[in-house]
Amino acid sequence: MKIRAVALNTFKEAIRDRILYLLLFFTVVSLILSKLLSLLTVGDKTKIIMDAGLSSISIFGVLMAILMGTGLVYKEIDKKTVYTLLSKPINRNQFILGKFLGLIITLFIMMAVMTAIFIIIILLHSGTISWKLFVSLGFVFLELCLITSVALLFSCFSTPILSSIFSLSFYLIGHLSWGLEALLKKMNPGVSKVLTQVVYILLPDLENFNFKTEVVHNLSIQPEMFLFSFFYGIAYTFFILMLAMLVFRKRDFI
């Protein structure tokens, strides 16, 4: 009940934020541009639309998660609304969970709007939709959940600008860390390999959520891969949320 109240209030705050609509507008523009891009390309036009469309939804979704997530807790502290809220019978963990869920609801609705537009564009072009597209979009959403939790964590102790930089770095590192995996395969056994292995484990691997290639080129996907990515996303998000709660639980509001 209390988590729901905070989540709904966060949702109300988010949907009244102009930046959300600005990003939504740019997503729609880039989805329409993907159709135009396909006209200029030699080859399978549907693949171009799907590739560019999925990338647009993913990138703008991440921007929404970061730009809004980093202000979630910071704004409450900066505007001192947290003083009255936490003086009510609500514990700090419920507050963090409510804030997180509020933004997740917002992102879910935004994803639904973007997906609907995307599907209309594909249907107008090819007339068919693969189920794999929905799976891919599902993993984009899971990635957004993880990025939101990261933004929320930084928001608990840092300013929105710094939190945005940190969260964006997390996103970029997460999409480049697969390079370490490739490097590990070529390394000789030894201390350096162990250290690289540790770094690889600690760094997020957001490529686990990237099923664009499989969808665009209609490649088969092993169920184990789905399951691994799904549990990886859930566990990582849960871990980051726990960290955020730990940081927030100990925080003094000076």
Binding site: M1, K2, R4, A5, L8, N9, K12, E13, R16, K79, K80, T81, V82, Y83, T84, L85, L86, S87, K88, P89, I90, N91, K250, D252, F253, I254
Partner: protein
């Protein structure tokens, strides 16, 4: 049977670290006080004395270095004690995108529903019923203070903590809020009121504690702290020259044919009245001045 305590603070310490080297500054230095059920308790202190820090510790917004805080017999961080507490912060800021009723509705969901008072009743009490569908961003400072008070009363609390509740209000607004605070006492509620506006405290509080540099330097009933002894008498007379008045006391002002004189020796008051009568003068006013809370407060702060 011992008197029931609404709030009990024992040996509260709080320090903050500042700067790159983490220099420690002690803000609260062992505060102990008790607030009895049903009283209005004034928490006095100059700016920076630690009043808001104490309130934040009570509400769990700051974690004390040392000490214990109990609200109505429960630990101050427990959900049980928060269910019975209302709080109005200094210069309240709220979710400005919400309307007044949306805002109260949101906060009411954080309590057990059966304890939530009717939102419209509260908006009527603070005089904002006509603005129930106005967004808080359009509220004036005084209106924000009122909506702040209404959220503090949302759960029909047993103890209400108010941080500078009369700050930024016009004289009518101040009177209305004072009346609400007094009506809370009539209902048997406990009010802990932090302020540096002495007149407000003097008008409504039963007991006070004076905080200076993070330590309580004096506390007790107002009538115990403030002596009823007459300090001096101010008399306004006319048709008597300033020079003639000097033998009775200290002439303060002279306007037209009227003079204001301050007399410290009470025997001289009768003498001057007799003198004015003999000289066919006129007494316009006679005001005996007893000690005020301000005198006590200024004395303590200067001493410290």
């Amino acid at each position: 049977m011992p008197e029931a305590k609404a709030l009990e603070i024992k040996d509260l310490h709080k320090s903050f670290k500042f700067g790159f080297l983490g220099k420690k500054i002690k803000v609260l230095k062992g505060i102990s006080l008790e607030v009895k059920k049903g009283e209005i308790f004034g928490y006095l202190g100059p700016n920076g004395a630690g009043k808001t820090t104490t309130l934040k510790c009570i509400l769990g917004l700051l974690f004390p270095d040392k000490g214990t805080i109990n609200i109505l017999g429960s630990d101050h961080l427990s959900i049980k004690s928060k269910e019975k507490t209302g709080f109005l912060p200094e210069n309240p800021y709220f979710y400005d995108y919400l309307t007044a009723s949306e805002f109260l509705n949101f906060y009411s969901q954080l309590f057990h529903k059966q304890k939530t008072e009717d939102i419209n009743t509260l908006l009527t009490l603070v005089g904002l019923i006509e603005h129930s569908h106005t967004q808080l961003r359009k509220f004036s400072k005084g209106m924000l203070q009122r909506i702040g008070l209404s959220q503090a009363l949302l759960n029909d609390p047993e103890i209400v903590l108010l941080d500078e509740p009369l700050g930024g209000l016009d004289p009518i607004g101040r009177k209305e809020i004072r009346d609400i605070i007094l009506s809370l006492k009539e209902k048997g509620k406990t009010v802990f009121l932090s302020s540096h506006i002495l007149q407000d405290i003097e008008m409504i509080c039963d007991r006070v504690a004076v905080l200076v540099n993070g330590a309580v330097v004096n506390q007790g009933r107002l009538d115990e702290l403030v002596s009823q002894e007459i300090l001096f008498t101010e008399i306004t007379v006319s048709k008597i020259s300033r020079k003639e008045l000097e033998k009775f006391g200290k002439p303060l002002t002279h306007f037209g044919n009227k003079s204001l004189i301050q007399i410290f020796d009470q025997d001289k008051v009768d003498e001057i009245l007799q003198f004015v009568k003999e000289k066919n003068g006129k007494v316009h006013s006679l005001v005996p001045r007893t000690q005020t809370l301000e005198d006590i407060f200024v004395g303590i702060v200067k001493q410290k």
